[in-house]
Symmetry: C2
Subunit: 357 residues, 2 copies
Amino acid sequence: MASILTRDDIETPAVLVDLAIAARNIRRFQDHADAAGLKARPHIKTHKLPHLARLQIEAGAVGITCQKVSEAEAMADGDPAITNILITYNIVGTAKLARLQRLAERVKLAVVADSEAVAGGLSAAFADAAAPLTVLVECDTGARRCGVTSPEAARDLALAIDRLPGLVFGGLMTYPPAGGAADAHVFLKSAKGSIEAAGLAVQIVTSGGTPDIWQAKTDGVVSEYRPGTYVYNDRSLVARGVAGLEDCALTVLATVVSVPGPDRAIVDAGSKILTSDLLGLSGHGTVLGHPEIIIDQLSEEHGRLVSKGPIGLSVGDRISIVPNHACVVTNMVDVVQVKMENGRYEPWPVAARGCVT
Amino acid sequence: MASILTRDDIETPAVLVDLAIAARNIRRFQDHADAAGLKARPHIKTHKLPHLARLQIEAGAVGITCQKVSEAEAMADGDPAITNILITYNIVGTAKLARLQRLAERVKLAVVADSEAVAGGLSAAFADAAAPLTVLVECDTGARRCGVTSPEAARDLALAIDRLPGLVFGGLMTYPPAGGAADAHVFLKSAKGSIEAAGLAVQIVTSGGTPDIWQAKTDGVVSEYRPGTYVYNDRSLVARGVAGLEDCALTVLATVVSVPGPDRAIVDAGSKILTSDLLGLSGHGTVLGHPEIIIDQLSEEHGRLVSKGPIGLSVGDRISIVPNHACVVTNMVDVVQVKMENGRYEPWPVAARGCVT
């Protein structure tokens, strides 16, 4: 195949994925989940690749998580192994609900709701469907994004979902803030107790987030975990001590296009591939093999590298960058170059790139 | 055509472009350039749409500016009116130089260089070409990105380009920092004088940037101006006083998916459409018609809206957001919904989206 490349043949900037590292990351978390008695339901937002979702399922995941209907559609279209999808998002609007209905006819689907308004829309769309839609109650356990804000509100919404035609209450979902797992467990335990006391079963209690991945446990309440970034890791997770640089499966390959001063070089990777996400860090990525270099500024097509001493780079040199945030980098490119077992690179289309609806 | 929509039919989040406003912005700058004796060469990075490039050319632009070879290819492929392209980037690497050669066979092309290394690569690629390649010297007039850093270095590189087979020296190019036009003019004037004293003509002196667009003038040296964002404008330009909200042609349409508290709402537009670009601003966009609302936090698929008083929004409400930075938003979507004269929306593929190589 002409499209199979050596690293030197890859045009820059490009997003490279080391499949062996990704597979090791998948295995490592699945082993942790198995030992902790947790089901794994990885979030595909990080890789957006049906084949990597398949590898996660083959490793033992019960299904996948998507954030938007269009992501779920891309995954269901992309690989027949993907038959069980949780969309952790309030689905609102006629067009999206119609797409959700069609998707529910071909995969086992669950969604979330955090209000009666959202649940009511889902009910209207599924009242006449062949099978009811499973709806989990999203709980705000500290992230201050979506979610009901008290265990009592979770109970009331669970009961409302149970009463609505076309829906079946499936359990509780949260995305806790980093470091907030303990508080989340208190909230979820209380909500689960209230709902069970009201006579409803809570089949699934699902939590997520890679930063706390190695602390993930049931604590008697969580049944399922949804890590995303763990498959690739990134500079933000290295900074948090969750992963080492050697665990980072995704890198950005860039070429030096200018060395305008002794302590400065410009590469062809800017915010159009690295993005402006900082995630609390300073600088825009780690240059592998050059710990002395800081990427101190990005414009759309330029990354500026600076160092205290001589920069030691020439026009035409190629560097590898571990980006701050892997998920958003994946979303910038139509294709990632995947390093296979034989050391060659295969271009894989990023099937769920740009799926915002 | 089924794909022509009313605003209510557009699925969110979506990028909307008001064609009448864009046309007015194009006309306004062209009139300014004409009055100032400047040629206009708009940068297509903002719209990435061949048809808008055509409108810019029909209004009087001498050609367009692109940043990457792939952008120029998309433009040349997209509209036969696009026959004159300046790529303001150091083109490095065998594959890119081969693409540049092929592109030069079908459009009038010019590029830049800021080192003999870059010029040497261009020369090797064009030594046997049917026609020489026009190369401008990129000058760093304060932005500290690419560019030679002194007028003397500009002269030396101009002379080197003139000596290299396959190349013809075309002039000087800079992208000054915002507010730095006066310093840039001093640099450019000195460089132009040195080069002319050495016996070379300086055909083009090209500057750019929308923030200083209404101050753009020749000052006896600049012959051409490359504004980008002016075609759409954005929140950063409104904050600088360069445009009003009514001049912003690009907006993001979003739906409220959660109202978890009286002073907080969550919309379905996150960093995957608004991006994390701040451009020195606080907040992630202006909600039209709601000056009291701040978009204080983005995650990939969520935008959080907060207000001091009641937020006054309900699940299902749709809002329009003027983003911080229009260019990067355009790059996040495969299609923009263009508002036509009849008030309806036509989906236009963003031909140069994701063109990083």
